[in-house]
């Protein structure tokens, strides 16, 4: 049986494979986008749930990996909106993405710099540099032209360079 068919059938082994292969990668991306470990965990769990329940609608035009990231980005946006509504203020990621008590000044600065980027820039930076997706894949999953992705990436890099005082 094909992996996708096994997933659609809800076979434990296939679901195990899905979670063990993608959950951590998705969690890292969500943590960087949201800047909050707990919110990132929620986003990943809900994304995987959405993915599994919507597998019958997955046409296979893109890879499963790209499709999962598309769902994750939508979930992160939803999470951000929800946090904004609950807290009543615009949520700026705090950058406390790892449960690592020992944080160097450099790493805090790095996270803060990423957190200072507007969400649309942060998304492309995370998808391009950390999820290793191509410009074409990012454009497809964000449903924007490739030029827009390149432009956002360029602006994000420029801003990071300004904040961190270094190139890339």
């Amino acid at each position: 049986m094909e992996p996708l068919d096994a997933l659609r059938a809800g076979e434990p082994e296939a679901l195990n494979w899905l979670v063990n292969t993608y959950a951590d990668r998705l969690l890292r991306a969500a943590a960087l986008i949201l800047g909050d470990g707990h919110a990132a965990e929620d986003a990943v769990q809900e994304s995987l749930m959405d993915a599994v329940l919507n597998l019958p609608h997955f046409r296979g035009d893109s890879s499963l990996y790209t499709w999962l990231y598309a769902i994750l980005v939508r979930r992160c946006r939803h999470q951000q909106k929800w946090l904004r509504r609950v807290r009543g203020v615009d949520v700026v990621p705090k950058g406390d993405l790892a449960q690592n008590p020992v944080q160097s000044t450099e790493s805090i600065a790095l996270r803060s710099a990423l957190a200072l980027l507007p969400q649309k820039y942060r998304e492309v930076v995370v998808l391009f540099y950390f999820a290793d997706l191509t410009i074409a894949e990012i454009a497809e999953l964000l449903r924007v032209p490739q030029g827009t992705v390149k432009n956002r990436l360029h602006r994000a890099r420029a801003r990071l360079k300004d904040i961190l005082g270094e190139d890339e």
Binding site: P12, E41, Q45, L53, W82, L160
Partner: protein
């Protein structure tokens, strides 16, 4: 080291605990099972009630307004006063009144 390499190295520590992954697999299996067959309405209502579905306040208020409006349209007739019947009752009224001479009346 460039910023992306530093951040990549740092985020590599972020991962789900194995117990959380196992729990997630169980939840996914349950969700798939649930989605396979159409469950009876009471079971689905119970799931909804015990679930964590989020409903926006605006949508909830709109829904309640629509339900109230629908109920009012359907049952408002029972509150309507038929003038003819009312007049007849008013005319008959004094004859049917029983005068109470004893006890305490609160006005």
């Amino acid at each position: 080291m460039r910023w992306k390499d530093r951040l990549k190295e740092e985020v590599s520590q972020i991962a789900f605990a194995q117990a959380a992954k196992d729990q997630l697999v169980k939840e996914l299996m349950f969700a798939v099972e649930k989605s396979k067959g159409k469950r009876p309405l009471p079971a689905r209502l119970r799931d909804f009630w015990h679930g964590s579905t989020e409903i926006r306040m605006e949508a909830l208020a709109l829904g309640l307004c629509l339900i109230t409006f629908g109920l009012w349209k359907a049952y408002s007739a029972i509150f309507a006063v038929d003038k003819t019947s009312a007049l007849v009752l008013l005319q008959l009224g004094p004859e049917t009144i029983t005068v109470i001479h004893q006890g305490v009346s609160l006005l």
